[in-house]
Subunit: 148 residues, 8 copies
């Protein structure tokens, strides 16, 4: 079984596209919590309010790290998608974290981000711009079949 | 001796500020190549031109990785500074890489980036906004002396 | 599946509270032997009496370490609870052991221990005072659901 | 050269006793910051005040961890002394951390703490109650000479 | 269960011979994509054409590495067969990669390659020239039975 | 599930005693090939005769190492029994190998070997002389139950 | 200081070219024994003759591995050159070994070997065909200076 | 510099022979305490008497392990000599420990021990019977020079 962690952008349905495209394959997918509000507020919701925004965010980010670190540590393949908007430093952080663990990295982004992502792309085993290609990659990796 | 790698923003003199502020301490500093042009073009300058921008950048990013990976691997402490401008995904990538290697992380950034950097900050042992504070941290770590 | 090791205090039912609170989740819990008498005397009960208290305890502590080390090594998440009484150095030892292995740490203690546990808390991804919160954390980590 | 980290109790001169007793040996000693006040307040002194005691302590404990983690990671031998007073959970945490890294542990404590420290002692290669014995151990380890 | 990765030559049916010979044993076999054309062109077929042969091959080799690295990382035993023809540097690369990971290596080759493969053979736990022998080795390793 | 590797002496039924004594427990046992003749001759039986006794033995010992290394690498607990006769250097070798991997060691031997095995015993978490005690240890480790 | 291991082809002066081209840089170079005859016969010359060519070579290859493994393990950068002639499987083996250890790989070969070396090149951070380029790479990595 | 640990038999001058034979080479040798009496009694001499022989020996063996583990961990090459007499299980234990750490092993023993040491020899990169050969091996490894 191939364990694949889907990191990065949370505002489009790219994870669903990959999972659908990879249907029938022996893959176990995992991903961060993709509900933006829950992800931002989880720390204080469970462990108590913080008046200071830094600690509000710190509590949440650490709690999310319990899930993220397990996803990254268990994965054979880490897919990181960079979207059009936002800083997405957590996505690049995950890519670096995965690279240091020796995971196989697949990076997904549009052409406009090519230069800014050159160091991230240079650590990857595959770079593409369409989630459909990720599904094709996973299918090839597991079965040797190429798209028609 | 403490080995400190200074990653991230390359358009201000923050590295010089830290090194000056840490004068007299038993520290060995290292950093990426900070000449933007050389860093961008090193791959093709040495190994031959590439008509395609992706491979132009890929050759350079990999060559720079020889230096970056050694700096990160050898370091006890990795300082990552995020500046005002640009995507700086390589900085976040280095932070993630260092975190996975168990390095002590110090993150430097202004308040405006606080929310976007919450996952990176959550992996750090110190977060501040002024390079002078990094020098004070290093002095305290090595000597136990606090700023007057 | 998430593997969770429940270390520390053995005189209240906090483990049962967490396990009950986490019912329905895909978690495998483990814990040390919580029968105080058996835990103290296991070494001599199986391998023969020792007139010297140090070796009596040494035999038992090592035998218990077979279980403890496996629980810590296998775990994704290590929860360590500090109770009101006793020195509980084995709990802090487990926390340090887990931290060095890179496990996600959740620390549970009352406010009165806050200052004395600051180094332990600083290594944790979550700190709380109520076992119910641990169950909520585990639920969020696995499902993304926050308490109502 | 033998690298020895001296962790634990900071209110007596046991470190100086060991260092004096080991004079002439090829040893590099390191230790945490032993100025109690500086150690408690270093975080806020450098990185800004925190109204909440938890975060005040958290900032300091993390900053101290930069020094502590390097001391532990670099050491061949970790000596941990438990004194008469205080909870000393950071000492037990360091012992667990060192054990997980496979360091050679020497534990120093009085008889009254024997039962409470049995798990910590069980992970050690030497247990004694007098700093003078630690110096004798280090001398024997390096030279093969036993005390007269 | 024993996990066995079958690396190397892809132009004869040696993998099938081993799998058939090992029938009934608790073994999970894996191998690279053995369709030469698909293996060569997979990168450009999925991620877009490259006019330059180097990058055409680079894209494919990296994509294949996702499968290869997982096969090698998961394996208990890595079998590498060198055939009569071609350079087969990828086979020797896999053998070195597996050796550095501490995997048990079985090397299969004819006598004519003996001297040229002496460094590879020297890292192996078994060297033979017939796939049938590999099946016998696997049967012995799992059951203790020797061929009649 | 607890994975236990049973190394060492192959001329008495101590393995069977432990397995019987541990019946009903969630343990997966493994062991070397215990057929002395097969173990000695396996290399040449499969890979061809060697006129020189050293290489005859070398071929066999390496082939057996495929099984032994997997057993040791997969184990949570390694039990090593030293019998009355023979040099049994392979048993001590396995004990050292397991110790370096951080496995929990249980050593079984009679009193007459106590002094000669002191370094091996010093690396163990339990030392006893009767296989029945090993079964009791395993039962306690998994269930917390002590022998009546 | 940068530690560089120069693996591969031993019939031309490429090592000397690199070392000369890197003069003045803070680099420590190491390499295998490059005297072909000594390298082939070292095992039997020291440890006694072997009538069988396989064991003659095996003894030598293992003895050379003492040097090779240290060179690879200590290196920051591993340069592997493939020449025009011979199988050079040991070069590819070293490349795989270095890749698995996470070393920065630089591969040097002529165009005619491009397709056959695609898997090896895909694991490298730099690929070139002239030793002079390796010296330029090392100079850039250490000083940031590009060739005029 | 090559770090060499000399483990095993302590009743002949084989260590001195190797050190003399390797004079002029860039080697740092280390070894266990070779004073039999001191080695046996060091634990009780420093940390207090034990009426029970097992604990007497246990205290000493653990204290010696501080030196032994450092010697093994730091070494590039571990030489283990088996003499004519005694069980020498500690020597075989060291060999197994070194093998699991991936150290280059050189085993020295007479012909009469060949069969009993076959598993130990099978983990070695060189096997010989004369300390003079070890010196020749070390000279070849460092300089490429073979004995005249």
């Amino acid at each position: 079984m191939l364990k694949v962690y889907l990191s990065g952008e949370i505002h489009t349905d790219w994870r669903e596209q990959i999972i659908a495209g990879a249907s029938g394959l022996d893959i176990s997918f995992s991903s961060p919590v993709t509900d933006h509000g829950a992800s931002d507020d989880c720390g204080v919701a469970i462990m108590g309010a913080e008046p200071n925004k830094f600690w509000h965010d710190n509590k949440g980010a650490k709690l999310n790290a319990i899930r993220t670190r397990k996803g990254l540590a268990d994965a054979d393949v880490v897919v990181v998608r960079f979207g059009e908007k936002y800083k997405q430093w957590n996505a690049a952080f995950d890519a670096g974290y995965a690279a240091a663990l020796g995971k196989s990295l697949i990076i997904v982004h549009g052409d406009d981000h090519q230069h800014a992502l050159k160091e991230v792309d240079a650590a990857a085993l595959a770079v593409c711009d369409d989630p459909k290609q990720v599904a094709e990659i996973l299918r090839y990796v597991l079965t040797g079949e190429l798209p028609a």
